[in-house]
Symmetry: C2
Subunit: 252 residues, 2 copies
DNA sequence: CATTGCAGTGAACGCTGTTCACCGTGAACG
DNA sequence: CGTTCACGGTGAACAGCGTTCACTGCAATG
């Protein structure tokens, strides 16, 4: 009989020093995710195969099931770690020069986002492409900010936008002027972020995110190739970010 | 020995009535693509499996290789047919009321694009998500307008934009004012479309496409769920299209 | 020291894409 | 009209996929 009740480790439960075993487990898990990412880079999510990862870390396929409940869970964890890395990159870019004008910090962060996407296209595709049926779903829905590390990615933009809007309160529609459906849909999120900006500014925020996403995703996915022929769209991106800054009331 | 030279059918070579065999072949091919699409809808591109399609059309897996050189080619053909269908949908929307003001026709077409995307998320994901390593690549690069049916999709927007810009020549930067890199990158495409609009307007066109893509893709892929919680983003989309119309100089 | 739980293995199942030798039928040609 | 030949389709096979299960050691625990 497999023990239905695992013995509660009093040490780790009190979140004191983790056991040797726990450290080894975490290290192995990290190594597995690292190998998974290598395969992701090699040939997209399709190539991220359980047996491939296993051989890469020097064990057999069933051994991986000690660390992940299956391939989908593994991909989900990979997504989380990638979100984490991306958030770190963006935070670093945003706070690289804390005394610079906010517009410049916004631009630097946006360019860092684009840079990460282009230098990590398979990872970007996994995070921001079409959702894979059993994988991303759980991540985006899970509202727990501790577990949902994708939220950290959103937060860097939200904080940046909130500060930006506070310094430059470009006129936004009043809550009453908004489409009633839109107003109702957004109130929950508005509460969730502590109403740091008025509801109308949330719409502006979403609009900015959509534009930024469009600019980065179209290039990273090759949906600009019909006109740019595999070229670097940095110049175009620069223009688009200028537009975005103008929309935020940041004249130069 | 397999005959290295297939007998040239003089009838089909002159593109007269196709042979009975050819008709049967084309019909089977269409039925296969139809089955592939059903599987795509059921569970994304992953579920589009050679054996699954085969059983659906009532033959065995190797039989499919008489119609497609492999799974990737089949998916590529599926992409082409979907592009074709989408282009038809958009053309129909655009020309539904040819006497309506262009702004309205532009909005109707945009909403038709969003509608198709939301009602056919798996198909939209295949066409406009992250490219699948062996599949989409060939399509986007192939510049032959006859073979590349994805171009038809782009053309409906280009024609609409060109007409829109001709009626409402919103000021665009002169070619000399553009970033030299951007100008050089776009000249080939500019030639390709016969310079129906000035180069500066092409930049505006790309900017509009990026914004439209962002609006539709973020919603279809669930990248707005963090704020909208699986809700219908039609109200937000309406706002975004208003912005886009404003950018095109279409006041209301 | 004994026990328990965990890491890892090898075999197995049903699935995948793809290739091969083969078979029958129907269309084309002498 | 009879022959030939290309094509549609099959069954077996191969390698690889995700996953489960019974099993073995080893290391930490009581």
């Amino acid at each position: 009989m497999l023990g239905a009740m695992t013995t509660v480790n009093p040490v780790s439960a009190e979140r004191s020093q983790p056991t040797r075993r726990e450290r080894a487990h975490a290290a192995a898990q990290a190594e597995i995710l690292q190998a998974a990412r290598r395969l992701l880079i090699e040939g997209g999510a399709e190539r991220v195969t359980v047996r491939g990862i296993a051989t890469e870390v020097g064990i057999t396929a069933p051994g991986l099931y000690r660390y992940f409940s299956g391939r989908e869970a593994l991909l989900g964890e990979l997504c989380s770690s990638l979100y984490d890395e991306l958030a770190d990159v963006l935070y670093e870019a945003r706070d690289r020069d804390p005394d610079a004008p906010l517009k410049q910090r916004f631009l630097v962060t946006s360019f860092a986002f684009r840079k990460w996407a282009l230098e990590h296209r398979p990872e970007f595709g996994l995070l921001f492409g079409a959702p894979i049926p059993g994988v991303l779903v759980d991540i985006h829905i899970d509202p727990d900010p501790a577990a949902n590390r994708g939220m950290r990615f959103g937060q860097v933009w939200l904080e940046l936008f909130a500060e930006l809007w506070r310094q430059h309160p470009v006129p936004v529609p009043d809550a009453d002027e908004l489409d009633p459906r839109l107003r109702e849909q957004l109130t929950e999120y508005h509460e969730q972020i502590g109403r740091i900006v008025p509801l109308g500014a949330v719409v502006l925020y979403l609009s900015c995110w959509i534009q930024l996403y469009g600019a980065v995703a179209t290039e990273a996915f090759g949906h600009l190739n019909f006109a740019l022929h595999d070229g670097d769209a940095e110049a175009l991106f620069h223009d688009l970010m200028g537009e975005l800054a103008a929309k935020l009331g940041l004249t130069h």
